[in-house]
Structure formats: C-alpha cells, structure tokens
Amino acid sequence: MKAQRDVWGDTVAEIGLTDPSIVLVDGDLANSTKADRFAREFPDRFIEVGIAEQNMVGIAFGLSTLGYRPWLSTFAVFLTHRALDPIRMLVSQTGANVRLAGAYSGLLNGSSGKTHQDVEDLAIMRAMPNMTVLAPADEVEAAAVTRWASDHEGPVYVRIARDAVRQVLPHDYTFRLGEAVTLRADGDIVLVSTGVQSSRVVEAADLLAAAGIRARVVHLPTIKPLNEASLLDSLKGASLLITVEEHTVIGGLGGAVCEVLGNYPTSPRVVRLGLDDQWSESGPDDFLLDKYGLSAQRVAEQVRSAVTTHEAAIASSGAATREEGIR
C-alpha cells in the first residue's frame, strides 16, 4: 500500500525527467505533499512560493503563458478556498494550462482537524467552467491520473489523499476521462463512490456480501466532465443507488449523480452518504471514518438500513417504485 501523495510526488518527479515543461509550484508544504522529491531532482524547476496560495496560482498562471506546464501543490482546502478567486479568473476563465494537486483532501489529514479538511472541494471545483475534476481511488489510479493530467491541456484539479488505502485497481489499469469504473459487478443495489472512499466502499461491499447482500460498486474517478452514457450504463438494472463520498453530501458526487438522473424519472432512488452537512474535528483516521460514517463497517451498516427501508417501501406499496413521493 502506497499513499496517493507518495505516488503523486514520485510520478511528478518521474515525469519531470522526460518533460522539461513540467514545473512545480509549492506553498511551503513540499515535505507533506511530497513535492519535495521533485524539488530535490529539479531544483531549477521547483518554485517555492511560501505561504501565499493566491500568489502561487498567479505565478503558475504566469509560467503557463510561456509554455510551462505547472503543477501546484498545497493542501486542497487552501487551493479551493484561499486561492479560489485567482483560480477562477486566471486559470478557469483563461483556460490556462495549470494543474492543481489538492493534497490532504477530505477528512484525513493527520489529526489537523476541520480547519485543514477539504470536504467541499468537489462541489466548488465542479461548479467552475473549464475545470476538469478528478478523484483517484488508489495508488494505481493516482499514478494514472497524475500522468493524464500532466499531458492534458487546460485546467485540472486532482484530489489527492494523504494516507494509503487498499488497492482496488489492477496494475495495468488505464484511466479514461469521464468513464465510470465498475469495481464489483454484482447486484442491483449500486454503490457509487469516488476518490479513496471507493476503496472503503469495496470493503463495505465485501462486508455486505458476507451478510448476504449483493452490492455493485461503481467508481467515478472523473467528477467533471462526467460521461453520462458511461455512468448510465454502469447503473443498468439498479433498484437502489447509494452514493458515498468523503465529502459533504451537498453538491459533490451525490449532487452530480442526482443531476444526471434527474433527467430520468424512473431511475432508482438515490441515497447520498458522506459528511452530513457538518464540520468535523481532529482525530485518528479510524476514529473519524467511524464517527462520520465513512468506514467500511459504517458504510455497510448504512447501506443495510437503506435497503431495509427501500424494501419495506416496495412491499407496502406492492410496486417496484415507491408510492410516497411527490406524485
């Protein structure tokens, strides 16, 4: 198991060997984000801006106008919140060739707590025109996405996790922009997830299988642009859809899925799991995942109770779709 930040740091350093246009812009966190590997290899292409995230974006933009292809790296929350206005005007509105690596995304940041957690990045970056938004599942996909983004023309935001998760993708995995990736094919209860949470959702599916509930697992590494056809295809035959994300339940993966399905009135019910519109706290990873409902165990529990509610509703209405609702 290798943490995504390690993979990102190694991969960017590796790409730097062959692509001299790659430069790295740091916000005084290179030893946390693992940008320090690039710094050691390519001191002349490593730009330490210090604790000034807005300025980082401006400098990266400026470099991009000369043909450089900058990666920016700092904690996700300081990109998506502290530097949002420069990202909007200088990167998104101009379509600049800037890659944003949001490190320490989600809940798990080494006990730093809510001031350092980014549980809104997907909602914020997804709303921005011209922005590609990626959230890899594990070490394999983190490497693939880092390579893909390095080659891509235009703004990209990549959600990078601090701590390692169980690998769920094969070593020869190929990342395809927008495509849904089915990690467990079984079942008409479909769990849709993104980022490293997908790894925990696969574990949850295993727990559910042990309890006799078959659940499909669909992983969406691309939050934007979504390939609707691919998503719909992966959801075929679903009777209940449960989105799970290490992110607020508002406006992120769950929101994106609901927006797509809104077009299809007979689509399955969607239950959204994630941070329940609340701030969290400091604490060890296991504690946080457990308390905020994102551990494999807790996801499995919540799926079980959603299934029970769903089946009761179907039984009482005698129909495949629920009676209650807005009709």
Binding site: I59, L63, L66, P86
Partner: protein, 310 residues
C-alpha cells in the same frame, strides 16, 4: 495600420516627440477623449482610473515597450499587465491608436459579442497579455512571467500597472515579496497613485462631501517597497520627461541590480478633463452630451482625426 503621425502640438520635452515623430501629448489627448466618449456611448465603464494612467500607458506603448502591434504574440515581446483591469478602456484606446486593432472597434466596448470586454481578456483582444478585473492579481501573474522568462533564457521585460487602492489587496504583497525573493529585476511595477479609489474614506469627519482622503495617507509606500527589497522611483505621472527618466532608471536597474523596480507615479484621478479631475465620483460614469462637448473642447479634439493622432 502603422504609426503615422502629423505633429501638431509643440512637444514640451524632447522625448515626447521621438524618432517616429509621434507627439505623445497629442496621443494622450486622443486617448482621453476615447475613454470618455467610448464609455458614454456604451453607457457603462470607468473614467477616473483610465484617465490618471493615460500618460504612463501612452509612454509605454509609444516609446518604451519592445512590442510590435502586428505580432501581438511574438514570444520575445515585452509584457504588460494591466492589474487595475477596470481601466481597460484606457489600455484599449492606446492599443487602438498604436495599431493593434482599428480605432473604430472601440465603439464595440462593453457591447455583447465584443473583443473589448469590460475588463481585459487575453483570449479575445490582441495585445492583452493577461486577463484581469479582480483587483490584486496582476503582479503575481507578472512574477510568474518574469520568472518563466528567466528560466527560459528570454530577455524580455515585464511591466505591471497597479492602482493605489488596489495595493490594499493582500495578494499584491504576496507577489511583492516573491518578486524580490526571486530577484526579478526585469520586472517593473508602476503604481498609479491617484489618491482615490472607488469609495474610500471621507476626507475629514466621516461626512461625505464628495471629497476623499488619500487611501495611503497613514502609510509610507516607498518605505514599504524598499523594505521588501525593491528599487523605488517616485515621479509625477503626468510629466513625460519624468516618466522617461523613470523608465530609463528602471531599465538600468533591470541590467545592473537584482531588485525589481516600482515607479510610484503621482497622478490625478480623472486627469485631463475639468469635470472628472480630482474626484472619486467619476471613478465610473457616463458623460452627457454637454459634458462630451466640454471635453472635446478641453482636449482640443475638434478638427483632428484619430488617424492623425497615431
């Protein structure tokens, strides 16, 4: 469209009329007219800031910058970032007179489907190097450009125009710090110190009498820039001789020092037209027919054509 100027005003100093026979005073008058008139026709836009920086931008584009209006994307060109993007119409007027696009196109300013957006858009307008509009971001972009130029072994210089109110934006100081840390002597910032911003602070006792106090009254800007390790030059931003002396000094600094240079240019907001001069109330505004007539007279536009201005 090449520069083709008939000299009608006597130049007040040698540099204001140079090799190409361009009379900068005259161009600046026409620029000022286009600012007021274009905004009046479009019924929206800024006036005071474009007018205060006009002489500086004319001096840059007609004498100082290494640019070619026919090759706005030439890799080796000097870069200019209008960080105070709300003054776009001032820059557009200069670019048009300099030949980047037809003067007639100014009439599309702020219209729909126009290349001349309310704030500069580098993807639309020939000659615009950086998109701006949200204040405080241009210097960071310029730091990235100047740094990239050095990394790429390019010799061009990078210029930025900032507003004095804009300096309140913290991101500017992040960039000021980086510029000297990275020893970017090829970077020259000009601050249009016109002593006013959009609303600002009342002059005396909190009552609004349409007078306003200097936004930086309690602050010694030169000392701050020096503290950050910059070269500082203070001039009258409406005096071409002083402007060119400052440009020369900045050029010398670029060659001979490791420090970026800031030119603190004392200007008057709304300069050049009697009713817009020295008041924050013309930060933006739409001139009436009568006011346009007054301005035309004051700017001595009557009988001159744009073609003859540049």
């Amino acid at each position: 469209m090449d520069i083709d100027v008939s000299l009608s005003d006597p130049p007040s100093d040698a540099r204001a009329s140079g090799a190409a026979g361009v009379d900068l005073h005259r161009i600046a008058r026409h620029v000022r007219w286009h600012i007021l008139n274009t905004v009046a026709q479009s019924k929206a836009g800024h006036i005071g800031g474009p007018l205060s920086m006009a002489d500086l931008v004319v001096a840059l584009y007609f004498r100082e910058l290494n640019i070619d209006p026919h090759r706005p994307d030439a890799p080796g060109r000097d870069r200019f970032v209008l960080s105070k993007g709300h003054s776009a119409i001032g820059l557009y007027s200069v670019l048009a007179l300099r030949g980047y696009f037809p003067v007639a196109e100014l009439a599309t300013f702020d219209h729909g489907d126009s290349r001349l957006q309310g704030h500069p858009d580098m993807r639309l307008t020939p000659g615009i190097d950086v998109s701006t509009g949200s204040l405080g971001q241009g210097l960071s972009a310029a730091v990235g450009i100047a740094l990239g130029a050095r990394m790429a072994g390019q010799a061009f210089r990078t210029w930025v125009m900032l507003g004095d109110g804009e300096l309140q934006e913290g991101m500017v100081w992040e960039a000021v710090n980086s510029a000297s840390r990275f020893e970017l002597s090829s970077l020259t910032a000009i601050v249009d110190v016109n002593g006013l911003q959009q609303f600002g602070w009342p002059a005396v006792d909190g009552r609004d009498r349409f007078d306003r106090s200097e936004p930086w009254a309690h602050v010694d800007l030169a000392a701050i820039f020096r503290g950050y390790g910059w070269n500082v030059i203070e001039i009258d931003g409406h005096d071409f001789a002083a402007i060119f002396a400052a440009f020369d000094e900045a050029g010398e600094n670029a060659r001979a020092t490791t420090r970026p240079t800031v030119i603190l240019a004392g200007t008057i907001k709304g300069q050049g037209i009697s009713f817009t001069r020295g008041t924050y109330t013309w930060h933006n505004g739409v001139a009436s027919e009568e006011q346009l007539a007054t301005a035309r007279a004051e700017l001595m536009i009557e009988g001159e054509t744009d073609e003859s201005a540049a």
